[in-house]
């Protein structure tokens, strides 16, 4: 049963990391290419896994590419990897972003060796979160991700980078601290650290603490990561001050850890509590959507703007999760992926604009469409995808989520919430178009004369993004057929 695909995917970046560490500081080119090769290899391998993935109905709820070795026998916790329909897309997403983030940071000047080391470590840790099926292992990777993030933001960041980085770490740690308590209480309730076992065992076991307490202990960590209103304020700071590639990964993959965890460890483990808590959490989700959008409208820093838009968009994920229907959960899962690539691209584009113009302030930018024709096109595509235009992944995801929520019977009045969510889409259109207009339209400004357009590396990178966005947008089934396998068993547990 042990096929070592996943381990390889996990380890490839580490190998690259070690090689880079051994390379001399000044061999920048070699360092970059090493990073590129290993992330690409990891991506390729994850695609292989995606292709080999068994999509038949027989595979519903079955863990595939499972690897299980004893790790700490004393507290029967294992080195247990595996993917199912829920995690596989996120693994793809991460390897994809990991590969592209190397391209995004191709021009990095400051201490490149350390930079790529941290970047690769970051990729491994996030992949680990999505792959691990043992709570302790999961938690380990969950925490591991903090270290590279801290260094990447506080060394290569901009602005109040030290404040933002420590804020990010502390905030996330608070969440994961609670989560640890939750995980332990789950363990002593069920006697198992197996992500897949606990769901079935917890129903029959005698809980050591009230299930509600357990629920919120687990939930809070993911809620902060997601981020759920009102725990979102770390996000704008972290995004604004992080280097581009890190913003890409942060928005693209890190936030998804929250949504993933919620589905995997909260909803499917404690469905009854989830059902009780659904109204409140859905309300918070909607607040997140609208509030995020409205606050976004006032932002003038491009990165900050997109960061707040993430708050708004992740609100849909939360809504989808706690509508507790199969469609809504699928929508949420799809929205995670779609938001991953869209916002990833948006940040990449902001990075480009910033790199060319050395300005991120909407009040100073303008008329760039003439100077950077390619960037304007791609940026617009990203923006339109983000506002949920049909044909882009954004539409598919949000539409499915809406359908799921609207048809949900989780609690009275969810239809109202859904409509409010739909209203949010208009505001999204508002700030996205406003942003595009501020940055690119209007008469060209002399101060930006001669700013270059995207070069080839950047073009490759952003075209990959666009391809992904359109692919998923036009044929979402490519993912939903996989996600289904992960969601349906959860629906059996929830029983709605």
């Amino acid at each position: 049963m042990n096929s070592y695909y996943l381990t390889t995917i996990l380890v490839l970046p580490l190998i690259g990391l070690i090689i880079i560490a051994l390379l001399p500081k000044d061999r920048v080119k070699a360092i970059k290419y090493t990073a590129l090769i290993f992330t690409l290899a990891s991506f390729a391998l994850s695609i292989v896994v995606f292709c080999l993935f068994d999509r038949s109905d027989g595979a519903i709820g079955r863990i595939q590419f499972e690897e299980k070795l004893p790790w700490i026998p004393a507290i029967n916790c294992f080195y247990h990897l595996g993917v199912d329909g829920l995690s596989l897309p996120l693994v793809i997403l991460m390897t994809f972003l990991g590969f592209l983030s190397v391209l995004v940071s191709w021009k990095i000047q400051l201490r490149p060796r350390e930079y790529f080391i941290w970047l690769l470590l970051l990729e491994t840790s996030i992949l680990g979160v999505f792959c691990s099926l043992d709570l302790i292992l999961f938690f380990l990777f969950w925490e591991l991700e903090l270290i590279p993030m801290y260094f990447l933001i506080s060394i290569w960041g901009s602005g109040r980078k030290e404040y933002s980085s420590i804020k990010y770490v502390i905030y996330t740690l608070i969440g994961s601290a609670m989560m640890l308590a939750g995980i332990l209480s789950v363990y002593f309730t069920t006697g198992s650290f197996g992500v897949m076992e606990v769901a079935s065992k917890i129903a029959i076991a005698q809980p050591v603490i009230p299930l509600v307490a357990m629920f919120f202990l687990l939930f809070i960590g993911f809620a902060i990561k997601l981020p759920m209103f009102p725990f979102h304020t770390w996000l704008p700071d972290a995004h604004t001050d992080a280097p581009t590639a890190v913003s890409v990964i942060l928005a693209g993959a890190l936030l998804k850890m929250g949504g993933y965890g919620m589905i995997r460890l909260v909803v499917s483990v404690l469905p009854d509590v989830a059902r009780q808590a659904a109204p409140i959490l859905a309300a918070l989700a909607i607040i997140g959507v609208l509030y995020g959008a409205w606050v976004t409208m006032r932002q003038t820093d491009l990165k900050r703007l997109i960061a707040y838009s993430s708050v708004s968009h992740m609100g849909y994920v939360l809504l989808g999760i706690f509508a507790l229907t199969e469609i809504s959960l699928t929508g949420a899962a799809l929205q995670m992926f779609s938001h991953g690539i869209i916002t990833g691209l948006l940040f990449a584009m902001v990075g480009l604009v910033y790199e060319k113009t050395h300005d991120r302030n909407l009040n100073n930018l303008g008329g760039l469409a003439r100077q950077m024709p390619v960037i304007v096109v791609i940026f617009s595509i990203a923006g339109l995808a983000s506002l949920g235009l049909p044909g882009t992944s954004g539409f598919a995801a949000e539409f499915i989520t809406f359908v799921g929520c609207f048809t949900s019977t989780a609690f009275a009045g969810i239809q109202i919430y859904t409509i409010l969510g739909v209203v949010g889409v208009v505001f999204t259109a508002g700030y996205i178009l406003w942003m595009l207009q501020r940055v690119f339209y209007g008469p060209p400004l002399d101060k930006f004369n001669g700013v270059p357009d995207a070069d080839n590396v950047e073009k490759i990178c952003i075209f990959c993004f666009v391809a992904a966005i359109l692919l998923v947008g036009i044929y979402p089934a490519i993912l939903t057929n996989v996600i289904r396998l992960g969601i349906e068993p959860i629906m059996k547990v929830i029983g709605m």
């Binding site: 004893p70 790790w71 700490i72 026998p73 004393a74 507290i75 302790i136 938690f139 380990l140 990777f141 925490e143 591991l144 903090l146 270290i147 801290y150 260094f151 506080s154 060394i155 030290e162 980085s165 420590i166 770490v169 502390i170 740690l173 608070i174 601290a177 609670m178 640890l180 308590a181 332990l184 209480s185 363990y187 002593f188 050591v208 603490i209």
Partner: protein, 491 residues
């Protein structure tokens, strides 16, 4: 007498250390190359460790008429102490070589204190316990004062006087226990206590005071609130290697002895152990909070580690409280405690070794002088960061596993509230640990010149970091050891 001779092999580790201590003093008289002394002492510790391991199989029992216990618990701690002392000596060389006199005495005192702690961890009788405690104590007082400069002497005096008060208190507690039971041997006293016709601690104030006074006495050694205030001051003043030694060895020994005493003496009946378990739990919560919060804006690295070691003591006390809550359990809490100590010892030593090397160069304990250290001493800075990360409890280090392990025990016995306090505390701790890390990684170095470090120190540092890493990545084996070592001789 014959029997006595027959039992000598059982204290072979201690005897070895004693022998080498004396040997070092003698060699000091006519050895010019003082570094040799260090290696002699290390050799002694290695031999002693060897004996300890060879004794591992020995059936748990008490030797020397119940004054000394021979059980995995004691043996493990002897091993741990030997390792700690060895590493400290290894790392002390640069530092000590600055003294023009008394280098031999320095190593000898380290060995003697280690000897005292070894006895301490094995003491099964209040008398031998008290004497061993004083042995380790006195040698540590001297070591603290070793620099004989303003700060060092001040710390020495503080340590001595407060230590004396603490031991008087401890003694009073023992007196009470003795008064109730009429025995000084822990196990026998425990036997009497169980047979006492009381079902509430309030019916027997002497017993209560005994427990409290013992907790206070040992609490001083393990730096538990409210007996911890000496720690930052003494840590700041003492020679850095001694600070390292204090922060790991004396703490480890302290935990060993308090665990043994509490468990053996007050382990039964269970309501009793639950009572003191709760006392410890509350103290632990306060201790870690006090330590962490106080450390937040600390600018002197040694003081920072003083506070940090208080906080870590708090986490360790979670394990101790667990022991109290489940005194009948085979190794609940104890194994966690032991594993945490393993990780803590190597981590803290590693951190201190890096600090020793750096402070030796920059001649300052101020954190600000660590700025840009990653450029001046990449390896040292990296290692220090790694150890700090382990102290926070982030992967891939022993710190995380240790916390998970020790907290899981607490959750099991229903101390979830304490665990939550503890995890929130480790969040707070992240702030000041990361501040040090940030200082070293971000910002331009004050001067360009590299920070040198002797091969010995680098070896010690490397060993620690590797151990921290292994503890974090393949903890399985170590957990096995911890559980094996959790067996306390308990008739």
């Amino acid at each position: 007498m014959k029997m006595l001779i027959a039992e000598l092999p059982f204290i072979a580790p201690e005897l070895t250390v004693l022998f080498f201590a004396l040997l070092v003093i003698l060699l000091d008289l006519f050895v010019k190359q003082k570094k040799a002394l260090a290696y002699v002492s290390i050799a002694g510790l290695i031999v002693s460790a060897g004996f300890t391991i060879s004794l591992w199989g020995a059936s748990p029992n008490s030797i020397f008429f119940g004054t000394l216990a021979l059980d995995p618990f004691a043996l493990f701690f002897k091993l741990l102490l030997a390792v700690a002392a060895g590493l400290v000596i290894l790392a002390s060389q640069d530092y000590v070589s600055k003294f023009d006199r008394f280098q031999g005495e320095y190593y000898a005192l380290v060995l003697l204190s280690a000897l005292g702690m070894m006895f301490l961890t094995a003491a099964a009788d209040m008398i031998s316990l008290y004497v061993a405690l004083e042995l380790s104590g006195i040698s540590l007082y001297v070591l603290t004062t070793f620099l004989k400069d303003k700060k060092s002497t001040e710390s020495g005096l503080k340590y001595l006087l407060l230590g004396a008060v603490a031991s008087a208190v401890l003694l009073y507690g023992m007196a009470f226990v003795f008064g109730i039971t009429g025995k000084t041997c822990l196990a026998c006293a425990a036997g009497i206590l169980e047979s006492l016709p009381i079902n509430s601690i309030l019916q027997n104030p002497a017993l209560l005071m005994g427990i409290i006074l013992l907790i206070a006495g040992f609490g001083f050694k393990i730096a538990s609130f409210p007996f911890q205030m000496w720690v930052p001051d003494v840590y700041e003043g003492a020679p850095t290697p001694v600070t390292a030694y204090l922060s790991v060895a004396s703490k480890a020994a302290g935990f060993a002895v308090i665990t043994r005493v509490m468990l053996v003496l007050f382990g039964q009946p269970t309501w009793l152990s639950a009572d003191w378990g709760m006392i410890i739990a509350v103290l632990s919560a306060i201790t870690m909070t006090a330590g962490n919060v106080a450390a937040l804006f600390q600018s002197n690295i040694k003081r920072l580690f003083g506070y940090s070691s208080i906080a870590q003591a708090g986490y360790l006390m979670v394990g101790l409280a667990t022991v109290g809550m489940a005194s009948t359990d085979a190794f609940a809490g104890r194994s966690g405690l032991i594993f945490f100590l393993m990780s803590y010892v190597v981590t803290n030593l590693g951190a201190f070794f890096a600090i020793i090397a750096i402070t030796n160069k920059v001649n300052s304990d101020e954190i600000n002088d660590f700025t840009g250290m990653i450029k001046r001493a990449p390896l040292l800075a990296l290692a220090l960061s790694f150890c700090l990360i382990s102290l926070i409890g982030l992967p891939p280090t022993g710190g995380l596993i240790a916390k998970i392990y020790i907290f899981s025990g607490a959750v099991k016995v229903g101390l979830l509230w304490l665990v939550i306090v503890a995890v929130v505390n480790s969040v707070i701790s992240a702030f000041y640990y990361l501040r040090v890390v940030k200082t070293m990684w971000v910002g331009a170095p004050t001067s360009e010149e590299k920070v040198p470090s002797s091969a010995a120190l680098r070896v010690a540092l490397g060993l620690c970091c590797v151990l921290v890493f292994l503890l974090g990545v393949i903890p399985g084996g170590f957990v096995g050891i911890a559980e094996a070592a959790a067996k306390i001789f308990n008739p």
